[in-house]
């Protein structure tokens, strides 16, 4: 996907999750700025109700931004940005109305700064193009207020200069937001390209190593019994009854092993790996082999979750169940609590990653177990 259509939250889900607390911080600063600046130019305020309404709008915009960016409501959608910008611009309009006719300086108005600050706060969750658009449109709306303000105060400064001055805060902060979004997505995509190239280079040696380890697998072990037997028959003069019986047994075992081999998926292999390395029971229930439908990123997200749950005495047993219907897949990961059970905060990371790869995620923690429900809709 191009960097025009990607947000940091999508390209780097952990980065998006880490950035979430900056939104309430930005919202609090914006709210504080609106209160302090309203008090600072209180002598210009002619309509206290409008002034209070302005602060209320800023507070509403801040709360909306904070909630929108919180991990449980992820992913952040484009319409949320517009709601936040609309509320913040509402605050700027209310401030304008509160000081109409008495506003000496545009410089000490909080409106443009608050709109810009909130746009900057949500930069990790928006595409750079939407941030630019939000900034330009907000600046355009605020410019209309400048015309009214200039008419009221009868200033001698050219209107174009007033436009430039009044839009400086919102445009520069939006530019910062867009610049950040562009750069971080660009950095992430560049790393992903490098990582993919490195992975392709590594594949050859990986294949060799894996092929060697496949020799130890179920199929290979059986092969080691079958091939000497066939060699024996080839060099013998006669087939005995024992040979025929042994051939039947081996054929049955081979068929069974082949059938299991065909029907198993990467998830069974992962479960076997976790089982072997962590010595905890890992059960996969996937009658329809739904694990095959997951794409590479979804597999990585699930692998990270299961490996993490199986690590560090977090779980005493893990059960992974996949259910499929015509619309999509449901994946339920239930881990019985181990000696050091995981915290919700930790699991939220994995939920954020899952949401970034088009899966819905719900985390439920009880004293006995941890349950993560993932679902994705087939396109």
């Amino acid at each position: 996907m191009s960097r025009m259509r990607l947000t940091q939250q999508e390209a780097d889900p952990i980065g998006g999750l880490t950035a979430a607390p900056i939104v309430p911080i930005g919202a609090v600063i914006a709210f504080a700025a609106s209160v302090v600046l309203t008090i600072a130019h209180w002598d210009e305020v002619g309509a206290p109700i409008a002034a209070a309404l302005g602060i209320a709008f800023v507070a509403a915009a801040g709360v909306t931004a904070s909630l929108s960016a919180s991990p449980q409501f992820a992913p952040f959608t484009a319409d949320r940005l517009w709601v936040i910008v609309a509320l913040a611009v509402g605050g700027a309009i209310a401030e304008y109305i509160s000081t109409i006719g008495a506003n000496r300086y545009l410089y000490d108005d909080y409106g443009p700064a608050v709109v810009g600050l909130l746009i900057l706060s949500v930069a990790p969750f928006c595409t750079w193009i939407s941030l630019v658009l939000a900034g330009v449109l907000a600046a355009a709306v605020l410019s209309i207020l400048v015309v009214g303000s200039a008419a009221a105060t009868m200033t001698t400064v050219p209107l174009v200069s007033l436009f430039a001055v009044s839009s400086a805060a919102v445009l520069s902060l939006s530019a910062a937001a867009a610049g950040y979004s562009y750069a971080i997505v660009d950095e992430t995509l560049a790393w992903q390209r490098d990582a993919n190239r490195a992975a392709l280079r590594r594949d050859a040696e990986l294949r060799e190593g894996i092929a060697r380890s496949v020799q130890q697998s179920r199929i290979s072990v059986l092969g080691r019994e079958v091939l000497p037997f066939l060699a024996g028959v080839m060099t013998a003069d006669r087939i005995t009854v024992a040979d025929a019986d042994r051939a039947r047994e081996l054929a049955e075992a081979l068929r069974r092993a082949l059938k299991e081999g065909i029907e198993s998926t990467w998830l069974d292999d992962l479960a076997a790996t976790v089982r072997a390395s962590r010595s905890i029971p890992v059960v996969v229930v996937d009658p329809d082999a739904a694990a095959r439908d997951l794409d590479d990123d979804q597999r990585s997200a699930l692998t990270a979750l299961i490996s993490w749950l199986g690590d560090g005495r977090r779980s005493s047993a893990i059960r992974i169940a996949l259910a499929a219907d015509t619309h999509g897949r449901r994946i339920s990961v239930v881990a019985d609590a181990g000696a050091e059970p995981p915290a919700r905060r930790d699991l939220d990371r994995f939920a954020a990653v899952a949401r970034a790869v088009s899966m819905r995620a719900e985390v439920d923690i009880t004293g006995e177990n941890v349950s993560v429900e993932l679902s994705h809709v087939l396109e």
């Binding site: 889900p13 880490t18 410089y107 400086a168 992903q192 060697r212 496949v214 081999g261």
Partner: protein
Amino acid sequence: MTLGLPGHLARDSMSRALAHAGHCAAWVCLGIGGVIGVIGATIDGDPGGWTGAALAALMAALLVMVARHPTVTSTLLYLIAGAATVLILTSTVMELGTRFDTTNNVVIALPMVALVLVGGAGVGSVIAIIWATLGYGLGEAAAFLGAALAGATWSPNFAAATAFGIVLVVRTFDGVTRRSDSRRETGLHRASQQTRELAIRHDYELRATARLHDTALSHLVAIAAAGSGPVDERLRDGIRQDLGLIVGRDWAIDHGTAAEGGPRMMRAADAATRAGGTPTETAATLETAFAAAANAGLDVQMTGDLAVLGVLGPGRAAALDAAVAQCLVNVARHADVDEAELAIGFSDGEVTVAVMDSGVGFDEREVPEDRIGLRTSIRARIEQEGGTVRLWSTKGVGTTIVLTVPEGGE
């Protein structure tokens, strides 16, 4: 695709992205400063406006240099030029004495904010905060000096202080949140590698499965069915040939790869000659398929040119060869005929091989679940190469299997 940034790159990437954000805001400030200067010069007739616009342009150009080559020299050069700009602008703007009461005004704020947002050489929150502090301090000092020269009142610039405050908050937040090391804990990069390994492992398991199925299962079934008695010579030859293909080799690895070397190529040439083709020494053929047919006592009539296999990569050609071999073995084993037709062709970027017989035919739905020849050795193999398998069979009339694979491949 790998999800997100790994822990070891996050610090540098975040630092660069935040510096870029600051630069974008600084360019907007300087651009607006330039516009105000030009308007002042043209509409107000103030010649100082041209100076202001030129200084803003100079700062913007130097900031481009800092962004492209963030060295200590370029950063210091920008800070010095920026401080000089603020000094000249303050003394000019405040000298007019009519418009602004103090240096806390929007015109002086624009270059001062751009100074704070220098970004600067090096990575990491601490270094970035040091450069921003230097930019803020130099800007205020220059404004103070400019105000003194103009005999005006100095006052801390609110916009510059706000910009400095935002830089402090954002850089501190970045530094603090990165300490929790949640990236390493989540292990996404590791998981991505593991997923890849699991996919390759599964692929090998499937190949090994198909290999063992082709070589061993039919012989085991034949031995079990034969019961006690002398070894059938055809069975003995079949076992000998299959074991000859795999014994002494790493059989799970050595499956249709390009690096298999001479002996296989020689046999390929033999088989092709038997089939009446005239391929070059290195061309892909249906060696395994013809050998399997000959071994099963099946007479194969071929139409088309084997040379079309040359458009396939060695791995894909080998997969097609093995799948066709399994088709022919199935004909010999189940169709109750001793001849089959094989047609090969190339069109629209795809190689198509059709295997036809006039045997007893069957209903695919009635094939028992545990019969895996069609599923593994034919369908799975071809689908792994991005191809398709179509099958038509009518009881008492015969069976046609059409295998299609796209050109290229490993």
